[in-house]
Amino acid sequence: MQTSARPPQSVDILLVEDNPGDVRLIQEALQDGKLLNRIATVSDGQKALAYLRKQGSYTQAPRPDLILLDLNIPRKDGREVLAEIKADPHLRSIPVVIVTSSQAEEDILRSYNTHANCYVTKPVDLEKFVAVVKAIEEFWVTIVKLPPKL
């Protein structure tokens, strides 16, 4: 788990991603942003759910305002994690953005059916990738009114 220094108004983001390259790219993209967010990263599905439920080593973890979830992650994959979050009355109000390399229609449909808040395919091109991550930040952090912290 990594955390960054942030002003008190900033939002907490949970990044569930096993590829360190992608983690780095997303962090690089977000570093360029105007807002400083607290980004926590976990590398598999089980850790993600433990973090959200403040279990194990995550008892002090803050409740995130936004979850960026990859689908193809070890131990418990992103589809299951999404289903559990949306089935949990305490967690389901947290917006979940699926950020994945899968373009399969089945994944897209299934994600929305399990109430993903949006589905984004990782662009192959670096510039587009950075643009997409910035767009996510812009939309979910500055435009959207998020539910109040419990």
Binding site: N19, S101, V124, D125, L126, F129
Partner: protein, 722 residues
Amino acid sequence: MSMMATRAHEPGLRIKPIVGYGLALAILLATGIFQYKIIGALVETDNWIIHTHEVLAELEGVCSGLQQAEWGTRSYAATGVQDYVIQFSTGIGRADEHLRAARIVTAGNPSQQQNFDRLMQLVTAKRRVMEHLIALRRDQGHTAASEALSNDEGPKLMTDIRALTDEMEGKEKSLLEARQAASRSQAKRADLPILFGTVLALGLTLATSWIAHRDASRWRRAKEPVHNASLHSRSLIETSLDPLVTISRGGQIADVNQATEFVTGVARQQLIGSDFSAYFTEPEEARNVYEQVLARGSVRNHPLVIRDISGKHTDVLYNATVFKSEAGEVEGIFAAARDVTERKRAERALQESEDAFRTLAELVPQLVWVCTHDGLGIYFNQRWVDYTGLTLEESYGRGWYTAFHLDGKQPVLDIWNHTAAIGNTYRLESRLRSSDGHDRWFLTKGVPLTDGAGHVLRWFGTCTDIEDLKRSEEALRIITADLARSNAELEQFAYVASHDLQEPLRMVASFTQLLGQRYKGQLDADADEFIGFAVDGAHRMQALVNDLLSYSRVGARGIELAAVDFEQVLQMVLTNLHVTLEESDGQVTHDPLPTVMGDETQLLQVLQNLVANALKFHGSEPPRVHVSAQEIKGEWRFSVRDNGIGIEPQFAKRIFLVFQRLHSRVEYPGTGLGLAIAKKILERQGGRIWMESEAGKGSTFYFSLPKKGVTSADICKATTIC
């Protein structure tokens, strides 16, 4: 024959005419009596006519006598001459006389009698008037008489008398008319019965006479000498097609018919008196038969062979009986020989045909069988016996079914019953029980032999060993299934591989790009160039992996058939390609495009790949692309024509294969998968793709789609994933 017939007819001869004649006589008698009665009636009527005329005459006489008396009375009154008194007396006398006679003739008629009484009174009154006049003239003279005459009742009485007699006459006449009419109608009614009776009697008499005559002739004929009958028999004998011979006790031919001459080739004169056995191929056997006839009285259907003078043989069946004299002594035999050469020939031909069939049936590698119309086995060849281990006896009838009864199932019977019912060709693939326990697959086929009316006479059938064929089929089926599975696995592999390759590739591409961005100019020129190659390579590989993924997805994705409007599809293609269109200064025109059943997403990809290629491979001229479609033989044929660089004919097929490129990446970038993907999509939807081109003169790419849309079977064929 004649004796029997005669006895039967004798009683008829005696009874029938008597009855006939008696009946005729009775009818005549009845008719006579009837006629007599009619005549009697007629005579009576006639008597009545006479009677009426008598009555009329008497009444006339009365009137006439009274007129004479009147005339005498008036003349005496006028003249006083005594002669006129005599006239009066005579007239009165006549009147009285006729009056008496009239009384007699009208005695039987009460109404006339009444009139008559009245007539008597009037006549008496009249007479008194006249007598009074005469007395007056004689006693008192002319004047008194004239005076009395002028006012006496005489004329009135006379008028009354005349009226009464007229009435009586009328009555008689009408009575007569009624009687005459009755008599006439009676006579008329009598006409027909009399005529009928007479004719009947006449006919009966004639018929009886004829029967009597006929019976008499028969009787006579029967009694005539046999000579006449033998003339008749002779012609019958001569007409017979069978040789007929009478042979004397010594074995010499006594008589022959014409057929005997034909069959032996020997003339009648020579035949008669010769030894009968000389005309048979086996004279000894013929004599044996002869002896048998003499011993037993007859022989039936004994086969012998007649040889004619030229040596020709005739198969015959010999039938013979003895004939006896009046005294009952055997005089010889009467023999008939039935020519059975034709029958024998037919039998031989049938035998030969059957031999040929059996030879053939034994020769062929199949099991051969013959059944009756209801499935009873009547023939099986040796191979049947060898394979099934059933003996012929065990196979005959319904025994052969057991060879088909495996696992307690009876498909043979089910199909048999069905087939037999419709009289069609029997066909069944089944396992057949083998004597060695290694049951094999056989194809059993049966064809019916029918008569003219379509009734099945026989079933001819074969069982062909198809075990090897079955095994090959099974092997082929397994191989096909394996191939399909293998193809499916390959596509799955391609999908997974290309998908999983994307992740590391993205890392390589992203971080080399990041490296380039952050450190350009900070390292040396070589480093910048190397980074450039690495980024380019990563990008190309990404394109390849993407296209490969698309290619493998064509088969992995299910087909969603819907009406696809190609006008709309083309507009979407042009929207997707608008950057390329602007950059190349290209133009795309089109004819009216149809709506076709298909998978819209995939067909969009096909058209987009073709239009993109047409825009990409342009020469010095800006690209001009034309899309059109026409209906040909139940399918839609689309064409995408360009004015580009064209393709040499030898590459026309190669370009549709995976990764096949004709140009360097520097000239025309691309992965070499676009046409392969189009081809795969079209074949999956029952279509085809091909092209026509000439290097330097542009190309036309064609693709077709079935009008009715694709079926799931077509999809199976095209994808091998079923």
